[in-house]
């Protein structure tokens, strides 16, 4: 693999960078040259190819596999089955911690969902392994499959999302509804969706005795390391995971799932390096998805358009063997100032792979329902949707009554509406046509996502040659960690970015936590910031305690670091370079660690969220129902923006996901067999280039002193929220037809 040369930059890269600069991606050259090494690009000597066979039934058991036929195929080396596999050190069904995803690694012959791995064929060539898997021709004992939101008995799960309470309430919702002048009682349905990162899950596993080398895309290096260690009963320090680039993750590469474990087992079984890459259709099962929901919203408003109550109930599904519950109703906690709010969830179990967090889990599903319902209520009250939202603007977090750590949503509404030209919108739907006669509709939605923090650690060093180093096992799945975190690192050690060696993406580096919850830049950034401060403090100690230094006696807090020098705070004419300090001290380098973590006191006191407002224009063919989004403007306030160039891209991406949620993506499950009938990229539609209109993003300035040391809130997921509802509301405004089943289909508009 070529070394990550982070100083090779194209001519237009801006130098002298730090936080706030719109740097182009520091891994850009590698990526445009095809030299960025993703897991499946590795090919250690002697490597064999492993291909999974997956079940075609959703429930039952495998009764036979024609292993002999597979082995007869030239090039097939071995077939791993429940009867022939290396033993694991622990039962993969045991949840040793809440972040364990139950997996199928051939521990038995049971089938609990379609596309579940049931065997692995290992061969000298990919062609042989692929055909070998077909030749297994599995036979099954098939049991009826549980499919859909009405399967089996419903129940109330103990928690939803990652540890959220299933139910929340504040005030008397029934009284609020009873006193309302206007009421909305509507049911919205959202489909199962699959992450479908462009890079299929892949692993290249290489055992050397007890030492294990792994190339695998992961959003959680240390979680993966821990899981591998416990499954195989080896010490974590024997394992080295490389994950320098993820070809997208969106949550599906967050927890260790079965397929990479099968790759590790296969390599162990044959005693050679093995590559196992999922086929696209195999990504519709064992690696998570967004669960479907059916959400009922009951909203009341008084004669002046003030909310009196908001009741949001969500039905969702989990698998028959594990628990993840899409926390859809929680979207109603933060946005609108209803005096009475209740959110609740229930669920059924179906024969599906376990759902998992998928980009804005709960927030996205809940947002499209809530924003649709709010739009319906605005119309019922005869109010402009923006005026209605402003009327119900939450000055404190409605569900808790806590003040916000910062909230620039009003500015988002103002700036977004102005850029979009919202003031010219007609109140009535189906009023506007373009020159070609297409219906034109404008819709909006409010965006929100919590400002989360996890735990991370970083190691910083300053060397005698005047360069710095920052090491953290951070993950770049496209959001730009190689660049944004390097910018934070440069500021943290007071050096130009090109003088700081930034290392990330491997498991031998300090734990950066999980790249999820839109919290990676904040969490890893806080650790980097703190490590930088610590190493500067050490350097300052060396200088300020040394009488030969112009900084002598300034005290640790009496100096600042800038451009490779420590400078006296009260007299900037007195300074000394890092090189001079270290040379005189006779030290090659100073090194320090720092941590990033949530601040429990601040969390207790404040509600912490990013916010935004999204405005969308759609055009709809009045007779044929074909829809196209023609314009979107999103204004977002998400605290400090580390790199506006990259942040814009992430917000664009989120807005496109929102549009996709409203108009395109849906896994279609056969209601009899439980098989997904469009497990591919041809018929599981994600937007293509022609679907995506000119997009406009405004980042609204926001300073938040409470969320973390850097004031970063994160932008990875918020773009979906608000956007999905904005597009759906624009379709209503264009057509006068309110569709509550997503994605919106052509036939709904033909009625």
């Amino acid at each position: 693999m070529p070394e990550l040369n982070l100083t090779s930059a194209p001519a237009h890269l801006r130098h002298g960078s730090s936080i706030g600069q719109p740097l182009t991606r520091r891994d850009g050259v590698l990526k445009v040259k095809g030299q960025a090494t993703y897991a499946a690009d590795n090919h250690p000597p002697g490597m064999l190819f492993a291909v999974m066979a997956v079940s075609s039934i959703a429930h039952g058991r495998v009764t036979s596999l024609d292993v002999a036929a597979a082995k007869r195929h030239p090039g097939v080396v071995d077939v791993m089955t429940p009867d022939h596999k290396p033993q694991l050190a622990i039962d993969p069904e045991i949840k040793t911690n809440p972040f364990v995803f139950r997996m199928e690694v051939l521990q038995n012959k049971e089938v609990r969902y379609a596309n579940q791995p049931i065997a692995v064929v290992i061969a000298e060539t990919l062609e042989a392994a692929t055909e070998g898997a077909v030749l297994l021709a599995p036979r099954y004992e098939t049991l009826p499959a549980l499919v859909g939101l009405d399967a089996g008995e419903s129940f109330v799960p103990p928690v939803v999302g990652v540890g959220n309470p299933t139910e929340n309430h504040r005030g008397d919702v029934e009284a609020g509804l009873a006193s309302a002048d206007k009421k909305i009682d509507a049911i919205y349905e959202t489909p199962p969706q699959y992450h479908n990162a462009m890079e299929p899950h892949a692993i290249v596993a290489h055992w050397d005795g007890d030492n294990l080398s792994v190339d695998m895309p992961t959003q959680g290096l240390m979680l993966s390391l821990g899981r591998i260690a416990e499954l195989f009963g080896i010490a974590p320090d024997k394992i080295h995971i490389r994950s320098p680039f993820l070809g997208g993750g969106f949550g599906s590469k967050g927890l260790m799932a079965g397929p990479p474990v099968l790759g590790l087992m296969a390599a162990k079984l044959v005693g050679k390096p093995v590559k196992l890459v999922l086929r696209r259709e195999q990504m519709y099962g064992p690696v998570g998805h967004r669960a479907p929901t059916r959400q009922r919203l009951r909203i009341g408003a008084d004669g002046e358009g003030r909310l009196t109550a908001l009741d949001h109930h969500a039905r969702t599904v989990s698998s028959t063997f594990d628990d993840f519950y899409e926390p859809a109703a929680d979207a109603s906690h933060t946005l609108y100032a209803a005096p009475a709010i209740r959110t609740s969830h229930d669920a059924v179990r179906v024969n599906t792979g376990t759902p998992l967090f998928m980009r804005a889990p709960g927030e996205a599903t809940g947002s499209i329902a809530l924003e649709s319902a709010i739009d319906e209520m605005a119309w019922a009250c005869g109010m402009d949707p923006l005026a209605f939202r402003l009327k119900n603007y939450a000055e404190v977090e409605p569900i808790t009554g806590k003040p916000f750590s910062s909230k620039a949503l009003r500015a988002c509404y103002d700036q977004g509406a102005a850029r979009f030209g919202w003031a010219k919108r007609s109140l009535q739907p189906r009023q506007v046509r373009d020159d070609a006669g297409l219906l034109v509709g404008w819709g909006m939605g409010t965006a929100t996502f919590p400002a989360l923090m996890f735990q991370a650690e970083a190691r910083a060093a300053i060397r005698r040659d005047g360069t710095g180093a920052m090491e953290i096992g951070a993950h770049d799945m496209g959001q730009g960690a190689w660049t944004a975190l390097a910018q934070i690192a440069a500021d943290a050690v007071g050096l130009d970015i090109d003088r700081v060696t930034f290392k990330a993406g491997t498991s031998d580096l300090p734990d950066a936590g999980i790249a999820g919850g839109s919290a990676h830049t904040a969490t890893a950034g806080a650790a980097i910031h703190s490590a930088g401060a610590a190493v500067i403090a050490k350097l300052a100690d060396l200088a300020t305690n040394d009488e030969r230094s112009p900084l002598f006696g300034a005290g640790n807090a009496g100096v600042i670091a800038r451009d490779g020098r420590l400078i006296r705070r009260d007299d900037e004419s007195r300074s000394e370079s890092y090189t001079e300090i270290l040379a005189r001290a006779g030290v090659a380098e100073v090194e320090a660690r720092g941590t990033g973590a949530p601040n429990p006191a601040a969390m207790e006191e404040y509600a912490m969220h990013a916010h935004g407002a999204v405005f969308a224009e759609v055009k709809v063919d009045p007779e044929l129902g074909q829809i196209r989004v023609t314009r979107m403007v999103g204004a977002f306030a998400a605290g400090r923006i580390v790199n506006p160039h990259l942040v814009k891209s992430q917000l664009f991406g989120g807005m496109i996901w929102g549009m996709s949620f409203a108009l395109h993506e849906e896994a279609i499950t056969d209601r009899r067999s439980g098989r997904i009938m469009n497990a591919n990229l041809g018929e599981y539609h994600i937007p293509v280039n022609a679907d995506v209109p000119p997009l406009d993003v405004i980042t609204v300035e926001e300073h938040d002193p409470h969320v973390n040391a850097l004031g970063i809130k994160g932008v990875g997921e918020i773009g979906i929220t608000g956007s999905a509802g904005a597009v759906a509301n624009a379709v209503w405004h264009a057509t006068g037809v309110r569709v509550r089943h997503f994605p919106i289909r052509i036939e709904e508009l033909l009625k």
């Binding site: 445009v32 040259k33 462009m198 696209r280 496109i656």
Partner: protein, 165 residues
Amino acid sequence: MNHSISLTVNGARRDFVLDDPRVTLLDLLRERLHLTGTKKGCDRGQCGACTILVDGKRINSCFALAISHDGADILTIEGVARGDQLHPVQAAFIAHDGFQCGFCTPGQIMSAIGMMQEAQAGNDPERIRECMSGNLCRCGAYAGIVDAVLEAQAGADESSQRRSA
């Protein structure tokens, strides 16, 4: 049965003995020639990540049997830059942030180069969007991709004007 074929890959002639006629150009490049810049996203012609130029035309290499392309001239992402000198499309992709995770990027760039040679889209953003719709990007970098192509096209138009002037 073994089959001898020869291909020109990024300007260099390569002769192979193919032991299996099932090998696609994509798998030949990735697994046998270790040219892994070309990506496999779906293996079914539905994502465009495997786009390469064959005899100057962009195609999905997952749907091309190597054996059937005996004698073909192949250009992959590895053959686009001249050493450290990026192809204008590559440079424009960086400048306009035409990617995030980067996995679809080699295919996008090869597709953009192929599209510019086809000369059907010109500098019309709508035609560029349509003509680039065979390359999915799950991160949603389409806006940057279109801007990158527009910049590269403008550069190409300018240099062809200079040549004809």
